[in-house]
Amino acid sequence: MTAFLKARMPVLAVGISILLLWYGGAIWLNAPQAIEGFARAGRAWGAMDLVHQTFAMKRPVLPTPDQVLSDLIDSLFHYPPTSIRNLLYHAGVTAEATLLGFLMGVAFGALLAVGIVHLKTLDSSLMPWVIISQTIPILAIAPMVVVIFGNLGFTGLLPKAVISMYLCFFPITIGLVKGLRSTDPLALDLMRTYSASVSQTFWLLRLPTSLPYLFTSIKVSIAISLIGAIVAELPTGGTAGLGARLLSGSYYGQTVQIWSALVMSALLSLTLVGLAGLAERLIVGRGGRKGA
């Protein structure tokens, strides 16, 4: 137990510091509003009154961690998961777009990578465009994608997934190109002495070699994919999804709601990255590699 504490001490210390700063910040940022409230009510106040008041505002500039937590718990446990007031429902909507976008991104990114590695013309013609595509801010692209897809009759899930895919295919392509090219030249010679076909060399040698690179990319990609889905929910003006929740929170000055949606999306992101890590351990770490 003490060893456990010792190992966790630095993390705990940082966590506690953040909490203290957060509460301090809440006092500082909410004080003007609180003082105004006291003045309007015409009652005298002391330092403790001020602290109490800044921690219990209905629409604080900065809500306290416990306000966020109680809002989160209230939303998660006091409404059925299908209710629009339950954050799980919104997380589910966003996760759906995230996963679909991620799968499309992996498929598209992998296709590009395989083409780039095997065809020299694709390497010189596609690679610059792949990089340029990522220099365009997603916030500028997202509304246009939504409008275009809307015109074609697609709303809801698909435009969101496409925006998500646009962001997340990039790490997959870059990682997989690097991975597929990291094959040991000796191992390639070996395949040649067996007169192995291009596809045999790919499935038996190149792909297994690239898996560690691919999974690193996947972990980055799935987190980016979630950002894509959330950004895509802003211009759709939808009523469901973590992005919509963030947007409506900011419309109505519901800061606590914004923060709890934010925490929820962080939790979703952690879960997704965790799942990717688990898949990596199951597929890459099947006893084949020592440590690494």
Partner: protein, 278 residues
């Protein structure tokens, strides 16, 4: 290493020596690498015939083209001029027919595959079914003294054992020709001696034709029926020495006068071709 395993193959299947059919036939072969500054002549006017059942060692200092010559035979490099046939075919046709097994300097095992699945890799490529693959893998692993290590991963094995797995892998589709590029170069001397006697026995009992690249004189004399001495810049054959020791070799044989005489001749050949002007 640890295991002082002997090969469990019956000595009786020893085949009759050389029927003098050329397996590899090389005539006035040259290879020039186009380097950035100036072309490098890696091989120059090579003439060499390797007969069935021969154990031919290519020996010479670094840069003499011995590995390049082996890679030309394996169709891993293309000659600039001259003729070469392997089993009467072009090297490419021979490679496509899987005429040879190749053992590299490094074991080049796939770390994500078990020992058994490394040995069965070439068999998967040629499309044998699973039972046959496992049967052959067991057979070849026994031949190199690694029965019982099927389920281990390469990193769980010593360097010498890994290299024996790579030999078993090269033998898996039962080629008549075995090309080996300094397979024991990275191993300590004791392990090397041990593997040399195993390899010698393997060659004698299976009757395969072997081409073996090395820069160890005693290894070359111990293993070979013929030793090809090469010199660098440009890569040329200086001398071809018959190594007429009995086919059955023992490590003690290295102390014999005959062995010493052949080794001396190889040494002289190497010294002659070695330029110290750099």
């Amino acid at each position: 290493m640890g295991s002082s395993s002997t090969l469990p193959v019956a000595e009786a299947i020893a085949t009759t020596p050389a029927e003098n059919r050329p397996i590899v036939d090389i005539r006035t072969l040259s290879l020039i690498f186009k380097a950035a500054d100036k072309p490098v002549t890696a091989l120059d006017g090579i003439d060499l015939r390797i007969n069935s059942g021969d154990f031919v060692s290519l020996i010479g200092p670094s840069g003499c083209g011995k590995t390049t010559l082996l890679r030309v035979i394996a169709d891993l490099e293309q000659p600039t001029s001259g003729d070469i046939t392997v089993n009467g075919l072009t090297p490419e046709a021979a490679r496509l027919k899987r005429a040879y097994g190749y053992v590299f300097q490094a074991p080049a095992l796939y770390p994500w595959r078990t020992v058994e699945r490394n040995v069965t890799l070439p068999l998967e490529i040629i499309g044998l079914d699973k039972t046959e693959r496992q049967r052959r893998s067991a057979q070849q692993l026994a031949l190199v003294g690694l029965a019982g290590f099927e389920k281990k991963f390469p990193w769980q094995l010593s360097g010498g054992m890994q290299q024996r797995v790579s030999i078993a892998r090269a033998l898996a589709f039962e080629p008549d020709l075995l090309l080996m590029d300094e397979p024991f170069g990275a191993l300590d001397e004791i392990t090397r001696d041990h593997l040399n006697s195993q390899l010698s026995r393997l060659w004698r009992t299976t009757g395969k034709t072997c081409v073996f690249v090395t820069h160890s004189i005693s290894e070359a004399v111990f293993l070979s029926t013929r030793i090809v001495v090469m010199s660098p810049r440009p890569g040329r054959i200086l001398d071809v020495i018959d190594c007429d020791l009995p086919r059955e070799r023992s490590l003690e044989m290295r102390e014999s006068q005959r062995f010493q005489d052949i080794a001396a001749r190889v040494r002289h050949g190497l010294a002659e071709g070695h330029s110290y002007d750099e």
